[in-house]
């Protein structure tokens, strides 16, 4: 580092001047974005755009400290990071299989879920399903009528078979 520093009288002059945030009202107060700040640190900005950042950096001691620190770090060779940092950071993102969202629950999973969320809606849906099933069954004639109809069909078929047999025997003179 150079020892090229200003003289004491220059410093005294500067110290006699008010240069804090409160007096720098002429400086544009718009916040400096990270990207603009990075572009300025790289010297990529136009003169006009750079002047806006320079005004902000001159006014804001935090921003000025940030600029000086970053300029120092970026201008030096970087030491190797601790392995633990890398391991922890890599673990933040998992493989695709691990990150795949669970499948959407089915209707029965939802209806018979053990938690209390949507309990009222679930009860209403189940009641509606039961009412619809019973109504449908009743409209179809119920269980008794269904069995009676089935029995009738069976006996009719049996009767038809016996008639056919008698006719065959009669025709043969038996």
């Amino acid at each position: 580092m150079s020892t090229d520093r200003p003289t004491q009288s220059d410093k005294e002059l500067w110290q006699s001047l008010a240069t804090g945030r409160d007096v720098a009202s002429w400086v544009v107060k718009a916040p400096v974005s990270d990207l603009d700040f990075a572009a300025w640190l790289e010297g990529r900005m136009s003169e006009e755009a750079a002047a806006r950042i320079e005004a902000a950096v001159a006014t804001d001691p935090d921003l000025r400290r940030a600029a000086l620190e970053l300029s120092e770090v970026l201008g030096q060779p970087l030491p190797i990071a601790p392995a633990r940092l890398e391991v922890r950071a890599k673990a933040l993102v998992g493989f695709e299989v691990e990150r795949r969202p669970p499948a959407l629950p089915g209707l029965f999973d939802w209806l018979f879920a053990s938690d209390r969320r949507f309990a009222f809606q679930r009860a209403a849906a189940m009641s509606a399903a039961v009412v619809i099933a019973i109504s449908g069954f009743m409209l179809g004639g119920g269980l008794g009528e269904s069995m009676a109809q089935e029995r009738h069909t069976y006996t009719t078929q049996q009767h038809d078979t016996s008639n056919d047999l008698s006719e065959f025997l009669v025709s043969d003179g038996i």
Binding site: M1, S2, D4, A58, V73, L78, A89
Partner: protein, 181 residues
């Protein structure tokens, strides 16, 4: 640093594990260095510094890589942008940590006292100095940096810094000699 420039950001922000691992390996030295430098004056433990560095990576991948998606390679280099983001995250982390762990009673009384050293100072009128002149003077006097450091910051040579400094002081002297207040 060259590795960082080879990172495929489009693949990275899709959540690709390999791309993330490559990014972490390339960015870890920079983030580690920036965080350590930023927190040097906070006197935090090694564990806290590691947490702060980890916090930077968390921010980068949080909410479906929202922060990383704001990066525009046309405007700034990835390394410089990452350094800015890392420093800002580290300072936030340290401030949160300090607020959470330092009760007012633990602060030495000398630090809480405000010394009344009010001295009427002269105001620099608007437009007397350019933004760059003001910045050069602030860096040299308020931050006590030397010419080489200011030159490195502003990406200009040391002679230009000296010349800017000299012109700024001439203007100040000339103005305040004419109008003593």
């Amino acid at each position: 640093m060259t590795e960082l420039n080879q990172i495929d950001l489009r693949t990275l922000v899709t959540g690709n594990k390999r791309a993330w691992d490559g990014f972490v390996a390339a960015a870890a030295p920079l983030i580690n260095a920036v965080v350590r430098r930023a927190l040097a004056s906070y006197r935090l433990s090694e564990e806290d510094v590691m947490d702060a560095a980890q916090d930077v990576f968390v921010r980068l991948c949080a909410n479906d890589y929202r922060l990383l998606k704001t990066y525009d390679p046309a405007r700034a280099g990835l390394a410089t942008w990452l350094a800015v983001v890392a420093r800002s995250a580290a300072i936030d982390h340290a401030r949160r940590r300090r607020q959470a762990t330092l009760p007012l009673d633990d602060v030495p009384e000398a630090n809480l006292g405000v010394e009344d050293r009010h001295v009427e100072k002269l105001k620099i009128p608007q437009g007397l100095l350019t933004e760059r002149q003001m910045l050069v003077l602030k860096c040299l006097y308020d931050e006590e940096k030397d010419v080489a450091e200011v030159a490195q910051l502003l990406k200009i040579d040391a002679q230009t810094v000296r010349s800017t400094h000299h012109k700024a002081l001439l203007r100040l002297r000339s103005h305040f000699q004419k109008e003593p207040q």
